[in-house]
Symmetry: C2
Subunit: 392 residues, 2 copies
């Protein structure tokens, strides 16, 4: 009677959102301050002041029917030009407004580009650990997931990628700064990746695209974040303002195809077709304009650094194993039990809500989102200490 | 190299949006006031005052990280309860917040519910003339379009529906007030439709759903708009605030499944799965809350009535054939040429931008969107008069 796959997806929900809902339930029972919810990547710092200023300015200066009316499907022309010009200036990659498509956030950017690219039999390579929804989005577009492994410090493993990328590969998805591992890919590894993809594209006789999923671009702790499109021309950038401007719920981002990309115009047309066919119509009009005026700005991201330092140092001192994250707002911690799900269940005893790594495509880790209030981390530390003592 | 279907969809674009872009081009050449663009259903009246008031109140009263953060995938719990309670109060149909799913507008409501419902071999019945994107959305979900005909006054034709609805039918989509014909389905025809669907469901041995696409619910000129879910329990309501609150660009609406619907909980789970898999994440957070506070309100819709009366009466006096619209903001006018596309090309000579009916599934008509400034209509009348004189 129903589409079985959608029913299954809806029933399972994402493991992350499931935990988030569990936390809301516990909060009602024992008080929000006693639940240590590290499940969701929901920005915990307020949007920068420019967001509110810009909303108020637009309400004052633009007629409401224009401000809130449809934009072109790919976005308001001025907004698209502003984004293109920002990309050119900040990253030195050729871009024009005609190749920028405003979206309802990075998830929409991904489903749109995957739907635009996917033909029967196509494989999409992801790098484990990977964002679990990649699998959902790839399969919904009709593609197959092929997982390569990251190396031990969660950087690119060229050997594993060399095995995973074949003539069946339509695109490789990378995510730097990385969810869940906090890795930032350096210039050298992006260069090596470009060499590999060029070699494989030549073997295939058609371009293998690089999809750069970049919602965490601005969230780094010192590491430079090289722009993948500057190293490999067949790169499609999927960006979101969710994290930089703390607008996760407003669903606003973009997809950019450099005009130097192979078949850029056709690719962009297919993107327009995919956006139309998935029912996106246009990205939210008010926030398109707000974001265009706040390009390059961000909230006070230093608070995430303070959270990272506090939590990382404490967990290490308690005996947890973890690579220090270079970006994003996640710690990816080795589970003291090989069964990470069992470990996360044990953690709930201490009201600690952690996400097991299984849905990220690797076993034996947990993801801790530290985009929370500092006091949540402070109050949670005794619980983390007691938890690991159970396994000594 | 690309998905051919998406490339084709993207290249063709919608005939309506194509014309809209052509109009923008002409406006730059000869001045906006000299182009009579009747192509797009973009609301021409401002949002009611409650929208701006509510935005400002939320900016003042809610912490930014909460206001702009993720909501649950199905929407903010308070918003969902408010919508359910409004539906119960206004239409007397049982509803609860657990069965309301906030969406990025009616297009998203439709792609989500079609994806949730569609199994291999399913047919979806639409009634010609129908909104052209129904075909795109149905085919993207993997379904097949089966078109019934409306009667001569664009009301339901039970004979045609009886032929079109078979054991292969998963759902029937209705749209009242109707785009493009302006029809409002009355109580009697909804009752007859319910009888037909119950009979056909019994023959099939499974429910045939009714999808009520309702973005124009509030836009009527006196006619009552009966609530389809009150006549047929297996109804899924796809609503949008685009027209009632003039928020078309903000992409905000909902999907509601009455708890009395067959398998309501599973259906709702499949809806959640579909929303997730299409990449919607959640509906825009700020406007979820704005709309929940403006339920039942609307802009000054009387201006659309003035436009309708002015244009309808003038066109009739010039000799055009047209049924008087009971709702929405479209006139569906008989083309003096059997080839409506050729007629629309001729109309461009007078800077009149009209949409030929072919993509609506019928031949020989044009759609005129009268959600424009009154002066645009006034200035366009001599052009309409000259145009039809060519065919006398």
């Amino acid at each position: 009677m129903l589409n079985e796959k959608m029913l299954r997806l809806g029933r399972e929900r994402s493991a992350i959102r499931e935990l988030f809902e569990y936390g809301n339930g516990r909060a009602q029972e024992i008080g929000r301050e006693n639940v240590f919810d590290f499940s969701l990547g929901n920005p915990s710092i307020p949007a920068p002041a420019c967001v509110e200023q810009e909303i108020k300015r637009l309400l004052r200066d633009m007629p409401a029917q224009e401000l809130h009316g449809y934009t072109s499907a790919a976005g308001d022309a001025q907004v698209r030009r502003a984004v293109a010009s920002y990309i050119e200036g900040a990253f030195g990659v050729p871009m024009d407004g005609e190749h920028v498509y405003m979206t309802c956030g990075a998830a929409a950017s991904l489903t749109i580009v995957l739907t635009a690219l996917c033909e029967e039999g196509d494989e999409f390579v992801v790098i484990a650990p990977y964002f679990p929804e990649y699998r959902v989005f790839i399969e919904n577009a009709g593609g197959m997931v092929k997982a390569a492994r990251a190396d031990k410090r969660f950087h690119l493993d060229m050997g594993s990628l060399d095995e995973a990328v074949t003539e069946k590969t339509k695109a490789v998805i990378i995510n730097s700064p990385n969810n869940p591992a906090g890795t930032v890919y350096g210039e050298n590894e992006l260069k090596e990746l470009a060499v590999l993809l060029k070699k494989k594209s030549a073997q295939k006789g058609a371009p293998i695209f690089l999809i750069a999923d970049e919602p965490y671009r601005e969230l780094t702790y010192g590491a430079a974040v090289p722009y993948p499109a500057a190293y490999y021309r067949d790169t499609i950038v999927c960006y979101s303002f969710s994290k930089s401007l703390s607008l996760a719920g407003e669903r606003i981002g973009y997809l950019a195809v450099s005009p130097q990309c192979t078949g850029a115009d056709d690719l962009f047309a297919a993107v327009c077709g995919a956006g139309r066919s998935l029912g996106f119509v246009c990205a939210p009009a008010l926030f398109q304009r707000v974001c265009a005026s706040c390009l390059g700005k961000s909230g006070d991201l230093s608070r995430y650094r303070e959270n990272r330092d506090l939590l990382y140092n404490a967990l290490r001192s308690f005996g947890y194993e973890c690579v220090e994250p270079e970006g994003a707002f996640y710690l990816f911690v080795k589970s003291p039990l090989s069964d990470a799900k069992a470990f996360c269940e044990r953690a709930k005893k201490y009201e600690l809500l952690l996400v097991p790594s299984d849905s990220f495509g690797v076993e034996g880790y947990v993801r801790i989102s530290y985009c929370v209030k500092r006091e949540t981390i402070e109050r949670s530390l005794p619980a983390f200490e007691k938890l690991i003592k159970e396994f000594e």
